[in-house]
Subunit: 260 residues, 2 copies
């Protein structure tokens, strides 16, 4: 099993504080780490097959502020697949001329989806197989990017088919929105004006967000387990799939197609 | 225009020395940089839209030895496309369950290939369009990875079709082999026993490779212009496409299919 970190915001925001907290958990989850940052439609991933506590790349990330509106991070405790770079989350693919970034916490048993299309796994994890299948089915469902609302509806059909195979907590982003699903552990916290002081659970570190934000800033932070001790985190219901845009929950009120 | 750096070796080798030399050239080529390292079938890219002389990511790469058998680096001087992360080389895609990494030096005029398949550019460069077209045509030509010899023959058919549109010096690797093509500037040097001392052209830096190698090590280094002052670099002929495997030139002697 692993631990996830996600950030969705309406202004470019760095995740140094949260990544410091996540890294502390890499004593147990020491089989690699990765973190992806969108900058516009561009995206970069920093990864290492070493533990986030020991990796020089992770040390660099903890001290170098990359500001992004959509971030997905992951620390790995291997269940399926060797400890190697090819099996390190997050995984990325291009679809519809956009980058897609995916990270998974969980374990899918006997999961061998029919990958008949052009998304094929490079490594040997259940997670990358699930991501390839998701990409394949999203591509089959929509000739081009269908927008956030319609894609949310598509994911609500697709994700339970994977989740039937085991623990499937996921983060998925294309830089416009962040989709999150849990059937065991995933939490989120919404930060907005008036901002306060947050204290990490796992390290003696605190930040006064009121010093680094404006009244209009909105940030959603997601993590397998709450990262801060003094904020109100909301636990995902089992099977819940949520969409976050511009640092807020995005509600799909009705089918996005006309009902005649 | 830009500058390319490539490394192909039979043992994992770091490119710190060469990347230091390349970075010095980022005074003129300051519109971003990127460098990709294969580790097995796994691959990671370090990129920044900032100059390789000023980027904190580049500074990290110059001091952190990542050992790889296939490396592709690039410093950008923008000709087409804004200075932004989405337009920063190298570009990557997955095909046949393998990562592919591509970097381009040159400028393709009025180049708008018919991209009817599933490889679509994210950014707005001629380079990424050329890469997407190459991936599309490679995929159409072979249902699965055809091996190095056959793919070399395929590339010899495809690459000239792009090169007809302008300057097209390229590096392409999947971690097994490194393909390189030039129609203007590209050079390579083969390093093997007995190894000597190399001195950078652009910085007061030298390395005695005999101290860090064994008799069996073979390394090919590629660069737009020679990086070292005291080694024998070979210039690509115009239109030449070479394949490097395990630190040596790979010769395709005859058609890879049986002649009946």
């Amino acid at each position: 099993m692993c631990q996830l970190l996600g950030l969705n915001a309406n202004v470019p925001t760095d995740a140094m504080f949260s990544f410091c907290g996540l890294s502390e958990r890499a004593v147990e989850h020491r089989d690699g780490f990765g973190i992806a940052f969108f900058e516009g439609v561009g995206m970069r991933v920093f990864q290492d097959a070493a533990s986030a506590r020991e990796s020089k790349v992770a040390e660099f990330i903890r001290t170098y502020p990359i500001r992004s509106r959509n971030i997905v991070g992951h620390i790995r405790k291997a269940t399926q697949g060797q400890v190697e770079l090819a099996n390190t989350h997050p995984f990325t693919r291009e679809l519809w001329g956009r980058h897609w970034v995916f990270a998974h916490n969980g374990n899918l048993k006997d999961y061998a989806p029919h990958l008949h299309s052009h998304f094929q796994p490079v490594g040997s994890t259940d997670s990358e197989r699930a991501f390839c299948w998701l990409m394949q089915e999203m591509h089959k469902a929509h000739a081009r990017f269908p927008g956030i609302a319609e894609l949310t509806l598509t994911l609500r059909e697709l994700v339970p088919q994977i989740a039937a195979h085991g623990t499937f907590n996921l983060l998925l982003t294309n830089g416009d929105a962040l989709w999150a699903h849990a059937n065991t552990d995933l939490h989120y916290v919404e930060r907005r004006h008036p901002f306060g002081v947050a204290t990490l659970c796992d390290a003696d570190l605190r930040v006064d967000f009121s010093q680094v934000t404006t009244e209009n800033d909105r940030v959603v932070l997601l993590a397998t387990q709450p990262l801060t001790a003094n904020e109100q985190w909301t636990r995902f219901a089992s099977g819940e799939l949520l969409t976050f845009v511009d640092g807020s929950r995005y509600e799909v009120q009705a089918p996005a197609w006309p009902v005649l």
